[in-house]
């Protein structure tokens, strides 16, 4: 048969979907694609410089090492690697996980570890085990865009609490918890990314970490600590994980209220699809049962691969090389932002991780801006992806880990261009500033603030338009709304 010729074949998924509509569970109504997701699909075109991904750089992993690790697996563990494994994970891998966590001074027992198919699976399992329709999950605002579809699939009511440059506002959290309690609603858990937040790029300060653990204990609040990036610190002092501050439930004075999520995706490879959860026994038991019905076990092959990788003893060297690579890319991005974005923009300066969060004046909708940016073949994640409640429309997320420095510079240059264009147009429309001289004219025609992080300036020539153009300071935190953007964790 001519393989180039497409044989007729039944593809029920592609046709007559209405026939199946009435069969779908009610909860699938919230499992939807979105206009933004459709826009994001265009970002995959090869000519587009995409600062939208959440991808680590896997191009620097030496192919020789990969081959030799696979050979080791074949030689030492062939039959086991090809076989089903225990649901909770292969023993040797759990030892490696303990080792990785110890590198962040978080000491756990291998028996408290559940290996999962990426940390994403652990998020899903937490919902599967804990969430009934309408149950409350508290998250940061913004939050990881990939968590939102998981929460929505279980019909959770997601309540988002503001952040600032020191991470989650614990005072705001307490106000929110108080309000919920008044409504007779107790959150099932708080989902937080305390270190190098995705998408916000900020890190929760030590006092806030301590206070959060206190609040959790006072209120018996379960905390889901997602820590994919903790080991990717470029500068500054490492902070203890919430799990380390809280301790295991068996320890004296400990709360046993933190379920910790880790992953090999950012320190080795997302392609091996391995993450883990560490938590109180009863919760972990439920997660394990949930996992058994989802996939029986994670890939034995990649678990032995990771074990071989750690045996080779160079994981910290490789991690160091990733840190160097990403530090350089972050610096390039921050320089480019300073150079290319006007004073009306502000952005976070991450000490690690993969992302910078940019906030623009509130008259710019970043989903629309993405449509414009795509005409210049550059892409980012619009802020609404990180919210469930309609906020965040003036913010955007930029990734610096998966793109080379030249493309970062060029990508930011193009984004700066379309932002300047919109700022200029808005100024023209409101009379706040004269029409722009040309596309490369410096954007910040407004007086005052110059440094990128100082927030947006107010001040317009026309008093009558002051209420239109006076912009509130944006320093306090990101704003936005969320829908499911697929990304690799």
């Amino acid at each position: 048969m001519d393989v180039a010729q497409r044989p007729p074949q039944p593809r029920p998924a592609a046709r007559d979907l209405e026939r199946y509509t009435r069969l779908f569970a009610v909860r699938t109504r919230d499992m939807k694609s979105s206009a933004m997701r459709d826009l994001m699909a265009i970002t995959e075109r090869p000519e587009v410089i995409s600062l939208a991904g959440g991808l680590p750089d896997t191009s620097t992993f030496p192919p020789d090492s990969y081959a030799s690790l696979m050979a080791t697996v074949a030689r030492d563990s062939c039959a086991r690697a090809l076989q089903y494994g225990p649901t909770e994970g292969v023993g040797v891998l759990k030892d490696r996980i303990v080792e990785v966590m110890a590198a962040e001074r978080t000491f756990v027992d291998p028996d408290d570890v559940l290996v999962t198919t990426g940390a994403q699976q652990a998020i899903d399992l937490m919902c599967k085990a804990l969430i009934d329709p309408g149950d409350v999950i508290v998250t940061e605002a913004p939050t990881y865009p990939g968590a939102i579809p998981a929460f929505q699939a279980y019909q959770a009511d997601v309540v988002q609490v503001e952040m600032d440059s020191d991470g989650l506002r614990i005072d705001e959290l307490e106000v929110t918890l108080e309000r919920l309690e008044g409504e007779g609603r107790r959150p099932k858990f708080l989902y937080t990314i305390p270190t190098f937040h995705n998408p916000a790029g900020v890190t929760m300060s030590l006092p806030r970490r301590r206070r959060l653990v206190e609040v959790a204990r006072e209120r018996e609040l379960l905390v889901l600590e997602d820590n994919p990036y903790g080991l990717l610190r470029f500068e500054g002092e490492a902070l203890p994980t919430l799990r380390a501050l809280d301790g295991p439930s068996a320890a004296e004075g400990a709360g046993g209220l933190v379920v910790y999520l880790g992953t090999f995706s950012k320190i080795l490879s997302p392609g091996i699809r391995l993450g883990w959860a560490v938590g109180p026994g009863p919760v972990l038991d439920k997660l394990r049962i949930g996992k058994a019905s989802a996939d029986l076990c994670s890939s034995s092959m990649t678990q032995y691969f990771v074990d071989a990788y750690f045996q080779a003893g160079r994981w910290e060297d490789y991690l160091g090389s990733l840190r160097e690579l990403y530090r350089g890319r972050r610096d390039t991005m921050l320089e480019a932002l300073t150079e290319r974005l006007g004073p009306e923009a502000s952005w976070t300066r991450p000490e690690g991780g993969l992302f910078v969060w940019v906030t623009l004046p509130d008259y710019i909708d970043t989903t629309d801006l993405l449509a414009r940016a795509l005409r210049e073949n550059v892409a980012f994640v619009p802020g609404e992806a990180a919210y469930v409640d309609g906020r965040g429309r003036s913010s955007l997320r930029l990734n610096f880990s998966g793109v080379n420095e030249q493309d970062i510079r060029e990508g930011v240059r193009r984004i700066g261009g379309v932002i300047r264009e919109q700022v200029g147009l808005y100024g023209t429309l409101t009379g706040a500033q004269p029409p722009r001289a040309g596309p490369d004219a410096q954007a910040g025609a407004r007086p005052g603030k110059g440094a990128a992080q100082t927030g947006a300036p107010a001040g317009a020539g026309d008093e009558g338009l002051a209420d239109v153009v006076a912009l509130p300071p944006r320093r306090e935190g990101p704003h936005g709304r969320a829908r499911g953007v697929h990304e690799d964790r």
Binding site: E18, K32, D365, L425, T428, G431
Partner: protein, 326 residues
């Protein structure tokens, strides 16, 4: 049986919808026994069309390039018969400003509007005219890009303070935008389908009403997603509103010179007046699209719908001896 190329995807913002439309059309064509090749439209389009050498091209593209006459012009040059409206009708439908003027001139009711390009604001000081525009149109005002087929970039301005940001958003998609009086009421769509043979009058299919769930605007997301918007077909409308909507849609279809099929979007205001919003030269053919729903309500299944479009296109091509359909 004929050899049919299905054009889908492309670079427009409605790429994903088009991929779904194209897949569905291709399935139907195969069930109907046609030899099909699907092309995701890109730089190699002409070469791939020449290589495929089809009897007919089914254009399942939406939005820029695919629905605005660009691809149609290319198919004319290549001498390939294609489904849907011809170049000029596509231009009339895709350019909302042109469409509105045509309707105004022909006495077809359409919401009051003003249209500007970016240079009017940048170089002619059009911003100074905004208060006058706002006074004449009254709030809320709908601001839309002139050439964007979907609801992307369409904003409601509820007060004067909302207008500049709405314009900035709309200019993200097009160099020209419309400010349009908002007509409240019921959101209707009338799809038109030509008969399979030349000489058979086009038929207005049953009216579809879009009833959004808890949203104040029939937005892009709701439009294409199961469950977000409830569609009622045939719409339960008072008096002779359905017949009037169908007659009006047919009038617009003829005025624009559409061919094979099209969808006319209208509003029915609380006083019972109809207002034509826009015409879609290549309406969606996805699982949740309105044209297939309306055809189904008229007893025309999806396969029959596709076959009718193909037959009509073939008949027209044979009759004309050339592939220019309008």
């Amino acid at each position: 049986m004929s050899r049919v190329v299905v054009l889908k995807g492309g670079r427009s913002l409605e790429r994903q919808v088009s991929l779904r439309s194209g897949a569905r059309v291709q399935d139907a064509l195969e069930r109907l026994g046609h030899d099909t090749v699907a092309i995701d439209v890109g730089h190699d389009l002409v070469a791939r069309l020449q290589e495929a050498s089809p009897d007919l091209v089914f254009v399942a593209l939406h939005g820029r390039d695919g629905e605005d006459g660009t691809v149609q012009e290319l198919l004319e040059v290549l001498g390939l018969p294609y489904t849907g409206s011809g170049v000029s009708a596509c231009i009339r439908c895709a350019d909302k400003v042109l469409a509105k003027h045509l309707m105004l001139d022909a006495g077809i009711p359409t919401p009051a509007f003003y249209a500007f390009n970016e240079t009017a604001f940048k170089e002619l000081g059009a911003a100074a005219a905004l208060p006058a525009i706002e006074e004449r149109l009254d709030f809320p005002i709908v601001v839309k890009p002139a050439g964007q087929g979907s609801a992307l970039g369409i904003k409601f301005a509820r007060t004067a303070a909302d207008v500049p940001a709405a314009l900035v958003a709309a200019f993200s998609y097009d160099h020209r935008v419309l400010l349009e009086r908002h007509v409240s009421g019921r959101d209707l769509a009338v799809s038109i389908l030509d008969g399979g043979d030349t000489g058979v009058e086009p038929q207005a299919l049953p009216v579809v009403e879009a009833v959004p769930r808890g949203e104040d605007f029939y937005d892009f997301e709701a439009r294409y997603q199961i469950g977000r918007t409830q569609f009622v077909c045939p719409a339960q409308l008072p008096g002779d509103a359905a017949e009037r909507a169908q007659a009006l849609a047919l009038e617009v279809y003829r005025l624009f010179g559409c061919f094979a099929f099209a969808r006319v979007d209208l509003m029915l205001d609380p006083e019972g007046q109809l207002h034509v919003l826009e015409v879609n030269a290549i309406p969606g053919l996805t699982e949740t699209s309105l044209l297939p729903q309306a055809a189904d309500a008229a007893g025309v299944g999806f396969d029959e719908l596709i076959e009718r479009v193909v037959a009509r296109t073939s008949a027209r091509a044979s009759a004309a001896g050339a592939p220019r359909p309008t």
